[in-house]
């Protein structure tokens, strides 16, 4: 088993189910999950699932992509504020980069994220798509 497949497997909860940690004292949610709240040092937390919709806070366009994403370029990487206030970064898909705008409503969709090689393990997770329905 390669490092890639074991790392991918360890991250299933956040990658597949959008699980985040919400700390009891501060009420703050962190994604990916953390063991300790960096502000309070608190370890008491609950695992919550993030909402699947939000708005773009800012974005950048990747035109010269690493080889594993070459067939998708150009594409946007966006920082999105989800409806619960959590901000996360993700790749945009199913959209022309010229249409991507700050404030655009987006939805998380389960997608293939990358592959190790033609023979390697497939890595899945979420990307943002325009929220058109």
């Amino acid at each position: 088993m390669s490092m890639f497949s074991s790392r991918s497997w360890r991250e299933y909860p956040q990658r597949y189910r959008m699980e985040a940690s919400r700390f009891k004292k501060s009420g703050k949610t962190y994604y990916p999950p953390r063991d300790i709240d960096p502000e309070t040092g608190d370890t008491a937390q609950e695992i919550v699932r993030l909402p699947d919709t939000g708005k773009i806070v800012t974005y950048t366009v990747i035109r010269v992509a690493p080889s594993q994403w070459g067939d998708l370029s150009p594409y946007a990487l966006a920082i999105v504020e989800l409806t619960d206030g959590t901000r996360m970064m993700g790749q945009m898909t199913d959209v022309d980069v010229e249409e991507v705008k700050i404030g655009m409503e987006v939805r998380l969709e389960f997608r293939r994220i990358q592959t190790e090689s033609h023979e390697g393990v497939l890595s899945y997770g979420h990307k943002f798509v325009p929220n058109w329905f």
Binding site: Y16, L72, D94, D96, R111, R112, L122, Y124
Partner: protein
């Protein structure tokens, strides 16, 4: 009998028109459009596959199921001829993504275009037999047609998922019948990228004989006639075949219309009749009877009779309808983009 407690579909947004494919190969687009009744087909982008389509369709099925805890789903079966791995199950990724692991049974089914309905059939049977409270049957494909082959005009992508249960049904399954023979009409040998088919032989002796065999047997078994049904859904390798088989069995165009998606969607293989069923449920009223018959080369058909319950009014608009996915926010692509998306270009990595 057991039935459907939640259903959902997912389709790619990308489409390619018949004219765009015909242009590249010097084919006559009007004759394909008229002969096969195909206008365009869905195309999955590189980051979409049978697993991702299955997860999205299943999430919609869970929304419509309303109260089903994924931990109560005892089995996940995915029928597809395009499982992303040759060795490694698709179902376990779906199970993990919806939070149904680890106390669950998973299996990937293959039977050309019939794999989806057999996943539904086995899920339904487990629940009916009392083995588990809920079972999930998924029909999903990102099918491939060889460049310039007739199949390239139709091979499309999409998925539908059905959570089977005994209580709180959206549609009760009144009866089923399956019909199988050994039929060499379409196949793909191991390590081959594209399927082969036997041309016109795939029609008369295969699709029509098998679909009619299952349909006539189920009508006889149930004591029903085509006029008793509000809607009917058949496997749709193109727009023409389901239209003709429906007519020859005694169903009308109005009965097949809501689930007759192939002219704009293409052939979603395992997904074809199950996605058609999802579109039909979207417009059904309580009490409606729906006749459904799949077809898979090799060859076989699974036929079902569904009776829609009053719960349909409560759940149909809890998530997106299949026709909305088919009709709105379409991205048309050219053949070059299509060839890139479907990995038909030799790359240096």
């Amino acid at each position: 009998m057991a039935g459907i407690v939640g259903y959902g579909a997912h389709l790619p947004r990308h489409r390619i028109k018949v004219e765009e494919i015909a242009k590249v190969w010097g084919a006559d687009a009007p004759s394909y459009k008229k002969g096969l009744m195909l206008r365009e087909k869905s195309v999955p982008p590189p980051d979409m596959d049978t697993i991702t389509l299955s997860v999205e369709a299943t999430r919609r099925a869970l929304i419509r199921a309303q109260t089903v805890d994924p931990k109560d789903i005892g089995a996940i079966y995915i029928g597809s001829e395009s499982h992303p791995y040759a060795v490694k199950p698709s179902g376990t990724t779906v199970a993990e993504a919806i939070g149904a692991t680890p106390d669950i049974h998973c299996a990937d089914f293959e039977f050309a275009c019939k794999a989806g309905s057999e996943a539904m059939f086995v899920a339904l049977s487990h629940v009916d037999a009392g083995h588990m409270k809920y079972a999930l049957g998924i029909a999903a494909d990102t099918s491939q047609g060889a460049p310039s082959d007739a199949l390239e005009f139709s091979a499309a992508a999409g998925a539908a998922a059905f959570i089977m249960g005994k209580d709180n049904l959206i549609a009760d399954c009144l009866d089923t019948h399956s019909f199988m023979t050994d039929m060499p009409d379409f196949w793909r040998r191991e390590h081959e990228f594209y399927p082969q088919h036997a041309g016109r032989f795939t029609g008369e002796e295969a699709y029509f004989a098998t679909t009619k065999g299952a349909s006539i047997a189920l009508l006889k078994k149930s004591g029903m006639k085509p006029a008793d049904f509000k809607y009917a859904v058949f496997h749709q390798p193109n727009g023409k075949f389901p239209q003709r088989v429906a007519r020859e069995l005694g169903f009308t165009q109005e009965q097949i219309d809501p689930g007759w998606l192939a002219p704009r969607l293409g052939n979603t293989y395992s997904g074809a009749s199950p996605i058609g069923l999802s579109a039909t449920l979207d417009v059904s009223e309580p009490g409606d009877l729906i006749f459904m018959c799949s077809y898979g080369s090799g060859a076989g058909s699974d036929a079902f009779i569904w009776k829609v319950t009053e719960r349909i009014d409560e759940v149909r608009d809890l998530t997106v309808r299949t026709h909305k996915l088919l009709d709105e926010n379409i991205i048309y692509i050219d053949y070059g983009t299509y060839a890139k998306f479907r990995r038909k270009i030799k790359m240096n990595y």
